[in-house]
Assembly symmetry: C2
Homo-oligomer: 110 residues x 2
DNA sequence: CCAATCGTCAACCAATCGGTTGAATAACGC
DNA sequence: GCGTTATTCAACCGATTGGTTGACGATTGG
């Protein structure tokens, strides 16, 4: 009964999870390394990662004892298309995005 | 402490609220008329509308005893910009959006 | 004036969320 | 083999969510 879009937007509504996605934009990461900058338990981050996985925003692959997290932007497409239909926004302004990211990274990640 | 983006994405994560936004895409509506197609109480819809208002996705203006709800896509911009940065998506495909909307409208609104 | 309409408020409920801790499982390196 | 590292699981917690119902305040039309 639950829509894919429900999962994607719910996953994006948490700042910790958005920060994780931003980190993964740089590079794939192991769970422990994802957790490092946050002031919360590894278990909590592990939960966030399964939420992101269920939403299809990341994929996780286990190699040895390390589980690698990789951004999967395909799930964002659907949501992005949905949103854009409302705004008749001008073509994507990547500069604005860069500025936004900087601002968000400047904030306390908790 | 709560980010605007938190509110926007949380508001969008509920299918009832997305359906309301889609309805408002057609035209401004009174609260009672918004509630009509849904199988839930007026009070519940009223709550959904305040959540959408707090997120900045709609505005509400009271004229007489009728409160008019109006789509306000500006809040979507920020979120849309955020999302697009992840995907390097091709230019907005409005056809895809139309198809998506049709599909969503075809579903049982509850 | 008065009944009906529009919408919110308040109290309540079960379910989910975001976090914790401690134990468990699995793979590594020496 | 054994301690160490990587990650999840399970139980628990308080707060929030999405819904209900019933009462309420405001505005309307006849």
């Amino acid at each position: 009964m639950e829509n894919r879009l429900d999962l994607v937007f719910a996953a994006l509504s948490d700042p910790t999870r958005r920060a994780i996605l931003t980190m993964l934009l740089e590079d794939d990461m192991a769970v422990t390394d994802v957790a490092e900058p946050f002031e919360m338990s590894l278990a909590a981050i592990s939960k966030h990662l399964t939420i992101l996985t269920r939403a299809g925003l990341i994929t996780q692959e286990k190699r040895g004892r390390v589980k690698w997290c990789k951004l999967d932007p395909s799930a964002l497409r659907e949501a992005s298309v949905w949103m854009q239909g409302f705004g008749q926004f001008e073509p994507v302004n990547l500069d604005a995005f860069e500025r936004f990211l900087e601002e968000e990274l400047r904030e306390d990640p908790n």
